[in-house]
């Protein structure tokens, strides 16, 4: 099960985004909203992190990334029983992107909508 408030820890969100500015901005927004956020610059980096860490409460996932894109990351995530249930919000410039995710937000991302969605999975402190 993804970790959350039940264990007393700050809800942790994995932000997978290759654009450094966008990644940093997302982390800032999440942290000032009471969440703990962990950055990853590609699907590969995200998987490497997940293999040595407990599952986060939520994953925010870009699609177009070098090394390993969002589709391939989802393929590996869903195959892993320890990670398969972690909810995923996809953020993408492509409105019609075909991907199996809990939610899809089209860029530019409306911060209010993002926080509303994040809050529906994990209430902030």
């Amino acid at each position: 099960m993804p970790e959350g408030h039940m264990n007393g820890a700050s809800p942790r969100i994995l932000v997978v985004e290759d654009d450094a500015d966008a990644r940093a901005a997302l982390i800032d927004i999440l942290e000032i909203s009471g969440y703990s956020a962990v950055p990853a610059g590609s699907g590969r980096e995200a998987l490497n992190y997940l293999h040595v860490s407990s599952p986060p409460s939520l994953i925010i996932l870009d699609l177009m990334m070098p090394e390993m894109d969002g589709w391939e990351f989802r393929f590996h995530q869903k195959k892993d029983p320890a990670l398969a249930d972690v909810p995923v919000i996809v953020v993408t410039a492509f409105g019609g992107a075909a991907i199996d995710a809990d939610n899809i937000l089209v860029k530019p991302i409306d911060v209010d909508r993002l926080l509303e969605l994040v809050g529906s999975y994990i209430p902030s402190e």
Partner: protein, 133 residues
Amino acid sequence: VSDSHAHNAQLESEIQALEQREAEAELHGDLTALSALWSDSLLANSTSNLIAGKQVLFDLIRSGRLRIKKMERRTLRMTILDDLVVTTGNETSELETGGGLLFCSYMNVWARHGGTWQMLARHVGLISRAAES
């Protein structure tokens, strides 16, 4: 010079001053000034591809996560339509947190409510970035 032309020239000058005052307030993280200059309904679309309102931007400035060390704005064109003014031009800016010098285009929308002009919308797009020194 017709009255309306003179009126527009005066308004252009007023908005030009507001553009500079707003850039200065952003540079210094001056929340008091920004509170007066930004509409409560402000919508800003940034180079980070995030659409944020006044409250989120204030939270970012207050937390020290949005700190600007350089900000120069050059207003190139302005369109006036009664109580709305659209400005566009370019900006050179740099964040305290790094990322190098940003050369951006921008578009701002100013709206007059009860005789007071406030920024209602802002869109900044990246033209190019200079490497960090």
